[in-house]
């Protein structure tokens, strides 16, 4: 318990030692008193049909009726500078610039409201597995509804940001609506972000992701078997310090109740779980980054022993600075292991997953993953060996269609072959992407 007391006092002292002064009104004042820009535009020659400068999806114009077929644009001779002053009328041409009053005074209708950013994400699809035919379960063959997630985010005031994510999904044959992450975090404390509420534990990169942001349609075997289907996600308090260094170095310490995680369901309500993550990210070049993370978690378990989780993650990402819209590559590896004292099913279990993601066109990705569970081997789970291949098409930032094939070899019977077609749809507020 001592480490937790120290942590809390550290958090409180950091919070109290800073009284940020924010001038939130400043920008709004500047916005409300615009300085009109001088408008200098050219009146199009009279023989030209009106051209819509702002036309996006096309001027309705049949080729044979093209008003400009013989019209003057290219045929007019060069205008000498002497003529120029008369060619700059002060009245705006019909299209290029809208009147100043209309738009500038109220740039964005949504910007005026205090509503939080709201978005929803839908995940589902069709799957077929050589093992999914026996009984109807949440995982059986056919069309499936994986999850609908509702997200609300907003700055609470100059000091806090509030985030609420709620998930509707299938659980034990029925729909369940649950809070996934509901937390506040600090905006005005320098160097450290303090977060309180219910959130995902920072054990490796994968566990912090929501299911719609998973690199594959499913999580690696080690995450599923050690931290559970929904990952380790618990109520508590978190502090993440940005350590001054020439690269990105962050140390995160989290204390959690433990009651939400199977691994840490202690009989004593005062027993807390402590999670630590140490993240380093270097820019190897303008195009390449390397991230190395180390994670650990410790707390009492339901068998009156200690459970420890260890993790390490290593990610390389490459996106060229020229042509980066069309090509990129990333390679990630995560290791996760547990040691649970007094666990009747055996104490140790660990696994390693490594995957490559290659973007070969603006909207297309191909990915491969190798996944191994059995480092160390647990008698209850045996050795599992899995290979996955994924093809992803992303029509826009807000939609994705993915096809994934998995081959699984384990002790449970003949090898499993599984095909999943998944849609991933986001509506509402624009997401801010994590790196």
């Amino acid at each position: 318990m001592r480490t937790q007391a120290i942590f809390v006092s550290f958090v409180v002292s950091v919070a109290l030692s800073n009284s940020p002064v924010l001038a939130a009104e400043k920008k709004k004042k500047e916005r409300s008193a615009p300085k009109p820009t001088t408008i200098i535009t050219f009146t199009p020659p009279p023989e030209d049909p009106p051209l819509a400068v702002s036309s996006g999806s096309g001027v309705p114009l049949a080729p044979e009726t093209g008003g400009g077929a013989t019209a003057g644009a290219p045929s007019s001779p060069a205008i000498t500078p002497a003529v120029l002053p008369t060619a700059i009328p002060t009245t705006p041409a019909p299209n290029p610039e809208p009147p100043i009053t209309s738009a500038y005074a109220s740039p964005n209708p949504r910007a005026k409201s205090f509503n939080p950013d709201v978005s929803a994400n839908f995940l589902g699809g069709y799957r077929h597995s050589t093992r999914g035919n026996d009984v109807v379960t949440d995982d059986s063959n056919g069309f499936y509804f994986q999850e609908a997630e509702l997200q609300f985010t907003a700055d609470v005031d100059p000091y806090f940001r509030g985030v609420g994510l709620f998930s509707l999904h299938r659980e034990n044959g029925a729909y369940a609506f649950e809070p996934e992450e509901v937390y506040f975090e600090t905006l005005a404390v320098p160097t450290v972000t303090i977060k309180g509420g219910k959130f995902k534990a920072f054990i490796g990169r994968q566990n912090t992701l929501h299911s719609h942001a998973y690199p594959f349609v499913d999580a690696p075997l080690a995450n599923q078997n050690i931290l559970g289907d929904e990952g380790m996600n618990d109520v508590g308090l978190s502090g993440a310090v940005l350590i001054p260094a020439s690269w990105f170095m962050e140390f995160t310490l989290q204390v959690m109740s433990g009651q939400e995680a199977d691994l840490y369901k202690s009989a004593h309500p005062n027993d807390l779980v402590t999670v630590a993550h140490f993240k380093n990210l270097w820019d190897l070049s303008a195009a390449t980054t390397m991230e190395l993370g180390l994670s650990g978690a410790t707390g009492w378990n339901q068998w009156d022993g200690r459970s420890n989780v260890y993790g390490a993650d290593l990610t390389f990402k490459f996106r060229p600075t020229e042509g980066g819209k069309y090509r990129s590559l990333s390679w990630s590896t995560e290791y996760l292991a547990q040691a649970a004292q007094n666990n009747p099913n055996g104490s140790g279990l660990g696994g390693l997953a490594t995957w490559l993601q290659y973007q070969f066109a603006e909207r297309w990705w191909v990915q491969g993953r190798y996944d191994f569970l059995g480092l160390p081997v647990s008698d209850a789970f045996g050795i599992k060996n899995k290979q996955s291949l994924l093809l992803g098409f992303f029509p826009s930032e807000f939609s994705a269609l993915r096809a994934q094939y998995d081959h699984l070899a384990d002790d449970a019977g003949p090898d499993e072959h599984r095909m999943t077609l998944q849609y991933n749809i986001s509506i509402g507020a624009h997401p801010a992407h994590a790196y």
Binding site: P96, Y104, T191, E362, H433
Partner: protein, 304 residues
Amino acid sequence: MQWRNGMVVLGVALAMATPAEAKLKVVTTITDLAAVVKEVGGPEVEVDSIARGTQDPHFIEAKPSYMVKASRADLIVAMGLELEQGWLPSILRGARNPKVMPGAPGYVEAGAWIEPLEVPTGKLTRADGDVHGGGNPHFNLDPERMATVAIKLGEKLGELSPTQRADFKARAEKMRDRLLAKTKEWQARVVRSGVKQVVTYHKTLTYFLARFGIANPEILEPKPGIPPTSAHIIHVIEVIRARKVPLVLVENYFDDSVIKKIRSAIPEIRSRTVPVLVEGAEGIATLDDLYETLIKAVESGGGQ
């Protein structure tokens, strides 16, 4: 006496360590804003841009190394108008630097200082593609709006470093006057070129074309952010033929293979792949270089 000497030494040491000599650290989202800060701020200001000139500023990854830069910044200068909404919020939160959070004096959006174009009026829907509720965010290609941005940035820098206010103001006014004077010359050259319409890939050049009286009858993207489809390219080719559009400009972070398709249908069409940001190509170190390159590209469509 020793005690007093000690105090003097300590005082001197403190004076040397105080930020009288410290440069203002400014981080901008795009290189064009960095170019303005560099000129207006002069030697007293250190400036760094998050995006490079060769990258599409809509889609920058929120790399943690940018968080490190922002954590040490005194001022963040963004374009605003939702250009950076996919990546800047993550960088600012990761930076953990309250001085530069939106709402604080160390955060400004240049979009608030200018009059935006193409502000959507009806209901916003993503069925229209990547539309920005605040209007088209690519005003960095309008020399006159950037002249306004220079003045405002000069005021902002003066607010953060009052002792240098006069220097910032003088440099900003010099920059504004130069850009406004050059704009007149550039306008004259565009008129002489005879080019009155161009086709572009994205609506990146909207402000530039509006400033120089050039119409933009068609965009190669069927909708903002959606890559060209075959059917849409055929439609664009029809428009180019019908309107006798002399020139296609493709912003250089987009795939310019689409030019080949247009040229196979209209062999006489002129085209240029153009940088649209400072440092977007070799030799483009300032806004003046950038606009000059674009004007030359427009001129290349003339004389037909």
